[in-house]
């Protein structure tokens, strides 16, 4: 079972990678390029697309259709090729883009199902909930993000373009989990052996997954906003084909507003557990401190967004900072700090 789980992880990563490639194809054919006009300088987008194609050589099924276009779109392809094309042959490439996007979402869903299987097999092998160390926790968090994303696109296809970045985040995080954080299965430490383990960690993973997902539209909003204000240097060029700034901003807020109470609950459940395990509900252990920091920063985001004098990009930056503090807590604190939360499983 444990070995199966490990193999399934590779399959899931490949699945997300394929989804990413299809999204990249959709991106290249993108219907939004009419809006982007000639001002778009797609060289770096193409590099991204090229890299995706090179990394995933096997494409089958309907996805294969897009492959030729992608492979001659490899890095050395001259500037500006991708943009005029959809602009010129709008209808045809738009339908290609829609097809590629649909396939991408389908592949993403398959990858998410495999991702779930990774967790389930891991849990069966370990005979406990599959979030007992950092490797498993990252798998659980990304799974939440993945399901959250599928739910979002199923309700609103207009944001599908973001799939490229969601899939990219999945591939990166799962690769880091598999390559850096991986630990073999061991039973829980006595300190983790409590039903609060299920309550606290699942709430933390759920909210972290949603906040992870929320960071994608947050960053894309900042890029799009910069693009709309006329910035044409690298990250802003990505803004050409993502959904409208207001859509992204609202999506960012929705995800954060949804995740924040869950995150609040996760911190509280942690405090209740800490009382039982260590005798105090709050002790400024590094993990607790960073959870507090994240909570305060996200509270600041919600506040800022409700404060009319604070501009939306500024508020969104706070959300991005909140995301960074969450990452600090997940990776930084587990790896660099010594504390009571010694469950990372890394030496």
């Amino acid at each position: 079972m444990a070995a199966l789980s490990d193999q399934l992880l590779v399959v899931a990563i490949l699945g997300y990678l394929l989804a990413m490639i299809c999204h990249a194809a959709e991106y290249a054919f993108g219907t939004r390029s009419l809006v982007g006009r000639a001002a778009v300088r797609p060289e770096r987008e193409l590099a991204l697309v090229g890299a995706g194609a090179a990394a995933g050589p096997v494409l089958d099924g309907p996805a294969a259709e897009v492959e030729p276009t992608l492979s001659d779109g490899a890095a050395e392809r001259p500037d500006g090729d991708a943009t005029p094309r959809p602009a010129a042959g709008g209808g045809e490439s738009a339908s290609k883009a829609a097809l590629a996007g649909g396939v991408a979402v389908g592949l993403f869903a398959i990858a998410a199902a495999v991702h779930l299987a990774v967790l389930v097999t891991r849990g069966i092998a370990a005979e406990r909930m599959p979030w007992g160390n950092m490797y498993e926790y990252v798998l659980a968090v990304t799974f939440v993000g993945s399901v959250g994303w599928l739910w979002l696109v199923s309700r609103r296809t207009s944001i599908r373009h973001l799939g490229l970045f969601v899939a990219l985040a999945m591939v990166l995080l799962l690769a880091v989990a598999g390559l850096v954080l991986y630990v073999p299965i061991v039973p829980l430490l006595p300190a983790l052996n409590s039903y609060w383990f299920i309550v606290h960690v699942s709430a933390a993973a759920l909210s972290s997954g949603l906040l992870l997902l929320g960071a994608v539209p947050a960053v894309m909003y900042l890029i799009r906003d910069g693009y709309d204000r006329g910035k044409r240097s690298f990250p802003y060029t990505l803004g050409a084909r993502v959904p409208a700034a207001a859509t992204l901003e609202r999506l960012t807020f929705r995800l954060h507003a949804f995740a924040f109470p869950i995150w609040t609950f996760a911190v509280m459940a942690g405090a209740v557990w800490a009382e039982a395990a260590w005798g105090r509900y709050w002790g400024w252990d590094p993990k607790e401190t960073w959870a507090f920091i994240s909570w305060v920063v996200y509270a600041g985001y919600l506040h800022a967004r409700a404060t009319p004098s604070v501009k939306r990009p500024v508020a969104t930056w706070i959300a991005v900072v909140g995301f960074l503090t969450m990452q600090m807590n997940l990776y930084g604190v587990n790896i660099f700090f010594e504390g009571l939360h010694a469950y990372g499983g890394l030496d």
Partner: protein, 542 residues
């Protein structure tokens, strides 16, 4: 404060701007005070303070903290002797009790109270008031519609709105309705709960206390709950030793199980509890399952081994030491020392030679490696116990009045030559005897288990928990409920559009008071329902 409220609650939020500072007419200190208060209780200040609070919490995770791990603070002092005093003066090792950290949260909560008290007053007023009259021009509102062919009967519309749980008032020729008051209720509950959480924390720090100590198994080592018997303790400002509940505790047994890899699987401490003046009873507790006594909880923090050593001196007199060795790794390699300051006392004169004191220092291995040098235990349970000790004789330096560590000998005495090492050290198995150069003997009799425990009481805990629960209860509607208003107004129909003499126009306006993307949909539904409700008979007869 009314201004603030408007900004917070009226939508679409981005159109309204932060009010410019009120112009100070008289440079009186009162005006300044009022101004500062206004600034302090603005959303923007709250935001900045929130940010500062997050920022101020960071150093506490980077630097060791006294109330988290005092040993680490000592290590830091040794490693950075120059930096330490500066950081210490800045409160770097007591961040969460430092003046600057306190200043930030005191300001934040002052701002919070200053902000929510007027909002509470306004909200109570709003809850009792009826929805306000319609603005003159409904077509200027974010949503607008016109119902033609209406019979002009607003009571059906009002009933429809009430069924949808809108708060409704019918004025002459006009229905005003509002919904989503729960948002502000939740918001206020959330913010007041924050204050209550802080209150609970404060109560805990005034009336709470805790003490930590190490408890070796056996009746000789039992401890009673007084400040003197803790190795480290902290009482709240309003607590003294006499307030601690009286009970005694003896460790009777300790179970630990480990996996083949050495990873701990379970711990359980069995104790005999003797409450003051009541019959003793047996109890047990473990990690995640503390011993809950009346007015105190006992938590299991760690465990280890205490070697039992018997030293027989030059005059044939024996003394036994049972001193805990502190574990330094996961396999419970433990370091510690045994002191025999009162040995070699001449029975004839009764005089003690201060230069013939004896001490041993070294490492205990619950499982000694089978081959290779014994430097680390290879398993945490006692499978092949071994005790590597170095022997010292001379002046232990314990009489100087400076309290030394009980886990290591005073290296200064070694450095200045008053304490000398004898021989090269020896690995002892249980039952083995080591005869020193002067014929005195050390026997390793075995070990006892010990636990480290924390005894705690925090009367604020329940308040914090209850407030935290309320906080969550308030947060949900605060985030998900939307405040919105609609108005229906009958206007006389222009002659050419009316199909029957009775019909008139109804103008509808909608205003989402908070950012609410689904409002258009809801508004359209209301309009559709109003159309149906108002014109049912006519539609059916058509």
């Amino acid at each position: 404060m009314a201004k603030l409220d408007d900004r917070a609650a009226t939508g679409p939020p981005r159109e309204v701007d932060e009010p410019t500072r009120p112009v100070r007419r008289t440079p009186a200190p009162l005006a300044l005070l009022r101004n500062s208060w206004r600034q302090l209780t603005s959303m923007r200040t709250a935001l900045i303070l929130l940010f500062l609070l997050a920022l101020a919490a960071i150093p506490g995770s980077l630097l060791p903290q006294r109330n988290v791990n005092i040993e680490k603070v000592g290590d830091f002092q040794r490693e950075h002797p120059d930096l330490f005093p500066i950081l210490d003066r800045l409160g770097g090792f007591d961040v969460y009790a430092s003046p600057w950290f306190s200043a930030i949260y005191v300001l934040l909560f002052t701002s919070l109270v200053g902000c929510i008290v007027p909002r509470l007053r306004d909200h109570v007023r709003a809850l009792r008031a009826v929805p306000p009259a319609a603005p003159k021009r409904l077509d200027r509102l974010p949503r607008h519609a016109v119902l033609s062919d209406h019979d002009g009967d607003l009571s059906a519309i009002a009933a429809m709105l009430r069924r949808r749980r809108w708060r409704v008032v019918v004025r002459d020729g006009e229905v005003a309705a509002e919904k989503g008051y729960l948002k502000e209720t939740g918001n206020l509950l959330f913010h007041f709960s924050l204050v209550a959480v802080l209150f609970g924390v404060a109560l805990g720090s005034w009336y709470g206390w805790h003490g930590n100590r190490l408890l070796i198994a056996g009746p000789d080592h039992a401890f009673c709950n007084t400040v003197q018997q803790f190795s480290e303790s902290k009482l709240g400002q309003r607590v003294d030793d006499g307030d601690l509940p009286r009970f005694c505790l003896e460790l009777t047994d300790f179970d630990a199980t480990f996996l083949p890899s050495g990873q701990p699987e379970s711990f359980r401490a069995h104790v005999r509890v003797e409450p003051w003046g009541r019959t003793p009873y047996a109890a047990s507790f473990s990690v995640n399952d503390p011993l809950r006594l009346d007015g105190a909880n006992v938590y299991l923090l760690g465990h280890g081994y205490a070697p039992i050593l018997r030293y027989t001196d030059r005059y044939g007199k024996s003394l036994v030491s049972e001193q805990a060795f502190l574990s330094i790794d996961g396999n419970l390699t433990s370091e510690g020392a045994a002191f025999f300051p009162d040995v070699n006392v001449d029975p004839a004169t009764g005089r003690r030679d201060p230069n013939l004191q004896v001490a041993f220092e070294g490492l205990y291995f619950p499982t000694t490696p089978e081959d290779g040098p014994a430097v680390r235990s290879v398993y945490p349970a006692e499978r092949a116990p071994g005790l590597f000790l170095r022997a010292y004789r001379g002046n232990l330096g314990m009489d100087a009045g400076i309290p030394g560590s009980v886990y290591s000998i005073d290296q200064r005495q070694v450095a200045n030559g008053r304490l000398k090492e004898i021989g090269d050290g020896k690995l002892l198995r249980p039952g083995e005897t080591w005869t020193l150069d002067d014929g005195t003997r050390l026997e390793f009799l075995g070990t006892r288990e010990y636990i480290t425990l924390s005894v705690r009481y925090d009367p604020g805990e329940k308040i914090v928990l209850a407030s935290a629960a309320l906080l969550l209860v308030g947060l949900t509607p605060a985030l998900f409920v939307r405040r919105r208003r609609v108005w229906f107004r009958v206007v006389p129909a222009p002659a050419d559009t009316s199909t029957t003499s009775r019909s008139s126009l109804v103008e509808v306006g909608g205003l989402p008071r908070t950012d609410y993307s689904g409002f258009a949909e809801e508004f359209d539904q209301l309009v559709a329902a109003a159309r149906r409700g108002g014109t049912v008979t006519e539609e059916e007869t058509d």
